[in-house]
Symmetry: C2
Subunit: 209 residues, 2 copies
């Protein structure tokens, strides 16, 4: 945010801590302008990262019963709300674009995390950056469930809209199954359902075997 604003009386009289919090909140507005490959269900436009993150948090609230018992769904919700924040700088990387994923994604996203989370007071920075790293590492039950939902949501958008990004980018079913395996680590019942959706998408000819 333009530093001039922070020279004005409301910020002169506020704590440095509140100024940092407001600065971060304003920065977040940019996530509404980061576009994903996925379209809305009615195909009217591309989905953006902010509304995608909101949709995932709703999925977590509605589908929590399919997580393993040790999952803390409140942590999953928080993780999903911040999981794409780094894309303000790093941009969205299409999950089926393997060269981009392999080449530079991690590096770009780490630099972005350092810049963006550093807008916050130190304690909040540490809290959120470690939550983001946990999501990225997919090493805890909370992170596995969060990552599974992050795969399930675009799969639903594709299945219910004639193939969506699968058709447009000629993604074969084998690749979809491989990427969606993340859901098997999140929840066996959801994975059974997803396998059936993928097979049916092939049957419906909106996904090529």
């Amino acid at each position: 945010m333009d530093q001039d604003f922070f020279e004005r009386p409301p910020f002169k009289n506020a704590s440095e801590r509140l100024r940092q919090q407001i600065d971060f909140i304003l920065e977040m507005d940019k996530l509404k302008r980061v576009l994903r490959r996925s379209m809305l269900l009615d195909q009217s436009r591309n989905e953006n990262d902010a509304e995608h993150s909101w949709h995932l948090a709703i999925l977590a609230m509605i589908l929590s019963e399919y997580a393993s018992p040790e999952v803390d769904i409140n942590r999953v919700v928080r993780m999903l709300l911040i999981h794409d924040i780094v894309e303000i700088d790093a941009g969205d990387t299409f999950v089926y674009d393997e060269s981009a994923v392999a080449d530079t994604k991690a590096e770009r996203e780490n630099a972005a995390a350092n810049r963006i989370f550093s807008l916050l007071p130190e304690d909040l920075k540490e809290e959120l950056i470690s939550l983001w790293r946990e999501f990225e590492a997919r090493s805890t039950p909370d992170a596995k469930f969060a990552a599974g939902l992050d795969r399930l949501q675009p799969l639903l958008l594709n299945y219910f809209s004639d193939g969506g990004t699968w058709s447009k980018h000629h993604v074969p079913a084998g690749k979809v199954r491989a990427k969606q395996r993340v859901i098997a680590e999140a929840s066996q019942p959801l994975w059974n359902f997803v396998e059936s959706l993928i097979s049916d998408a092939v049957e419906r000819k909106i996904l090529n075997e």
Copy 2:
């Protein structure tokens, strides 16, 4: 969602419960198409309800220390994530449009809540509709804090973008102060800050006294 999809094998083999959950999740996609009066910070377009709800959940995570100690911030986050869902049917009512607020808002929103939350299995419907009613009633500490953030976010968008909806709809400072009083019930430190922002907006001539 088109009932035909639910006749296909993935849903024939899934529980009725999962079918209802997926139906609700798909319905949620429509919130991305409900536009608010507020613009994004860069003034490029109107904000939609889904990304607004996401932004509010981020505010709750970042500003939780300004809530009174009895506030359960996880409940506040959930409340904010669903607080605008009824606008899928009822549309967004501009907070300064007092005739619409008084006339039909409650009725339209109740009908919408009944239709939309009824897509869910009974237990989830009860849970979410009572969370939504709590938010609307603003009678608990959690609901008061959530409602305060729902006022603070558009105020920040207006202050940091030359007046935004205040200028466009000729809203005077007295009305802004009256509507923003909700924040005083949410948090005294945030209210002190907001009062200062409103006075400075008058000073900057982006809001008329």
